[in-house]
């Protein structure tokens, strides 16, 4: 982006605000609601390829997904996070930040009242609902929704750049990358056991082709037995589940998912006691802790390769 362009926008905004001030106030303020002191802005491209205009210095940000909250904490910009969702439970400090509702039904009034520069959202469907209202109020909407471990790493960098914490982010990325390299080094040439990832016991939900978890299991030295199923989180026929006979079962642990479904009672996984529980938050949130989830899977299904 050229600095002339930024300057032009800056001048334009300045002119607009002067014009605004010169008016008697009432009529103009109601319509444009420009921030009192227009901050310097720049254009960035989000994960959906949308061009978004954000302040060069983001001072107030809102996250509408737990994975985004964790990412913003990880890049060292938590001090600028002024609003999160009720699902945002990690790290511990996230719980004390103002809540703006949950991911699918955030409270727009609360969001606007917090006067953020940018609202980070995780799904395309969210955008349609708030884009209009937020942009009218001069709030940028930025979509970040990585769908692979590579995407998680590159989005960490993008967010780090947005907040101007590139140094800290680079250190973090190097660390994450070396942990991933270490896992693949240890598992090089190992046979891949068939893994069934149970998302919920009743009804039986698992992961399909479009879930990023399929690739995570692959990277953790396994093979998802449901990798061919079109869908990201299919409700699976129990007949098929029984016939799949996985070597290992991973329970994405939540309240209704603490034991393997009964259809697995004669599976190889049950016979060999290869049923493992991993915190659902590590497997379902495309944020930095996905690497922890990947390591946990690798340790569980290849215990002999990770003897300390």
């Amino acid at each position: 982006m050229s600095s002339i362009k930024i300057l032009r926008v800056f001048v334009l905004l300045l002119g607009l605000s002067i014009w605004c001030l010169s008016m008697t106030g009432s009529g103009c303020r109601g319509k444009t609601l420009a921030p009192p002191v227009p901050a310097e802005t720049r254009q960035v491209t989000d994960d959906l390829g949308r061009i978004v205009r954000v302040p060069v210095k983001i001072t107030r940000a809102i996250s509408l997904a737990p994975s985004i909250t964790e990412t913003i904490f990880a890049v060292g910009a938590a001090d600028r996070l002024v609003g999160v969702t009720t699902y945002c439970n990690y790290p511990e400090q996230a719980k004390s930040i103002a809540k703006v509702g949950d991911t699918l039904t955030p409270n727009l009034e609360t969001i606007v009242a917090l006067k953020p520069d940018v609202v980070f959202v995780s799904t395309a469907s969210q955008i349609e609902a708030f884009k209009g209202t937020l942009e009218q109020n001069g709030i940028a909407v930025y979509v970040t929704n990585p769908n692979s471990i590579e995407g998680v790493l590159s989005d960490l960098m993008k967010i780090g750049e947005l907040f101007g914490t590139v140094d800290k982010t680079s250190v973090l990325l190097n660390d994450l990358q070396s942990r991933l390299d270490e896992v693949s080094r240890r598992l090089n040439g190992e046979p891949r056991p068939g893994v069934f990832l149970q998302i919920s016991k009743e009804p039986l939900f698992t992961i399909g082709k479009q879930s990023f978890m399929t690739a995570i299991i692959e990277k953790a030295g396994g093979r998802s037995v449901t990798a061919d199923i079109e869908s990201s989180y299919p409700k699976l026929s129990k007949e098929t589940a029984l016939a799949l006979n996985p070597d290992a079962i991973i329970l994405s642990t939540s309240d209704d998912n603490r034991v393997a479904n009964d259809v697995f009672k004669n599976s190889r996984a049950m016979k060999n006691s290869k049923v493992f529980s991993i915190d659902a938050d590590l497997l379902s949130r495309p944020g930095p802790r996905l690497v922890d989830g990947l390591e946990a899977i690798a340790r569980d299904i290849h215990p002999d390769k990770f003897v300390q």
Partner: protein, 334 residues
């Protein structure tokens, strides 16, 4: 006067002809047999007819068969409950869902689900309690000094149903995300959670319901003419009301606990039966049981196989098949 009226009544209720009723009965039995056979042969996994491996036997006996049998007994239960309520209330829209019985059962199951998850039998018991409490509430609301009024009863049913719906929505919003997911699926009707015990319970309820309502069929026939007339003919109107509501709560409670809210069955199956076999409840009740079983087993076979190895919610399939079928028969009949 009384005698003439009775004769007219009997004539009105008599099936179009006796042989017609036998025909319909035979067709239903044959259809049930065909549907049950076909559904045991279909599934997301292909099974050979003979020489099943241990795993294939497990697929057949532990997964497929219990689910088909549960579908059959849930279908029979909901259909007889609908048949009984429609006759009792002389209202073609009367069915367990409209009268608050289904939502009462759903709320009971949800409470069991949240608070007594460890006890397997808490769900059917709470579902029955919920259904019974909802029925009782509807019944009390509909009573006035001048006695029971059918319009008031249907109105109360609708009000209780919507009230319970909003409580269900409130609770799904409040309980945490993990539990919510399985529950919202379950609210749409889900036969994949079939267990042996759930099936025995549902089958027992279906048999009791069909027998009791068939036994009360004469009283129901007279109630269809009008409660005053039924009373004049010696029907203990109050007792029949309690019996029908009690049976509806029992069968709906058992079905909802085992499979969630499978919609449409209680509404359309009894109508389809009346269109083909006449309105005599001595036939409508047992025929509805068989037709309900056929309907739900067919719908669930579609749900299990259409996008295998994924599954559709059975409640969506019953509505998808049921609505056009019903409209077709309604237009053909008139």
């Amino acid at each position: 006067m009384k005698k003439v009226y009775q004769a007219r009544t009997e004539k009105k209720l008599r099936p179009r002809s006796f042989s017609r009723a036998i025909q319909v009965g035979i067709v239903l039995i044959v259809l049930l047999f065909i549907v049950l056979t076909a559904s045991t042969l279909l599934g997301s996994e292909r099974l050979p007819l003979f020489d099943l491996s241990e795993q294939q036997r497990s697929i057949f006996y532990d997964v497929r068969l219990p689910r088909i049998l549960l579908a059959a007994s849930v279908g029979a239960s909901l259909a007889v409950a609908g048949a009984g309520l429609q006759s009792l209330l002389r209202n073609p829209l009367a069915e367990p869902y409209l009268l608050g019985v289904s939502n009462g059962a759903a709320l009971g199951t949800m409470l069991a689900f949240i608070f007594f998850d460890r006890f397997e039998f808490s769900r059917p018991v709470m579902a029955f309690v919920g259904a019974a409490v909802a029925s009782f509430a509807v019944y009390q609301m509909a009573r006035s000094r001048s006695g029971m009024n059918v319009e008031r009863l249907v109105l109360s049913g609708v009000i209780v149903t919507t009230f319970l719906s909003s409580i269900l929505v409130m609770m799904t919003t409040l309980i945490d995300a993990g539990k919510l997911r399985s529950f919202t699926f379950w609210l749409l009707g889900d036969l994949s959670q079939a267990t042996r015990n759930g099936f025995y319970l549902s089958l027992g309820a279906a048999i009791v319901g069909t027998v009791v309502l068939t036994w009360q069929a004469r009283a129901l026939n007279l109630m269809m003419i009008g409660e005053r007339d039924a009373f004049d003919f010696g029907v203990e109107v109050n007792r029949v009301r309690w019996l029908v509501f009690g049976v509806a709560s029992l069968v709906v409670g058992a079905s909802v606990a085992a499979s969630g809210s499978v919609g449409y069955v209680g509404l359309i199956v009894p109508h389809l039966v009346r269109m083909s076999a006449g309105s005599d409840n001595r036939l409508v009740v047992p025929f509805s049981a068989v037709a309900g079983a056929i309907f739900v087993v067919s719908a669930d076979t579609v749900a299990r196989t259409a996008i295998a190895p994924r599954e559709l919610p059975v409640g969506a399939v019953t509505a998808l098949i049921g609505a056009p079928l019903f409209i077709y028969l309604l237009r053909r009949g008139s």
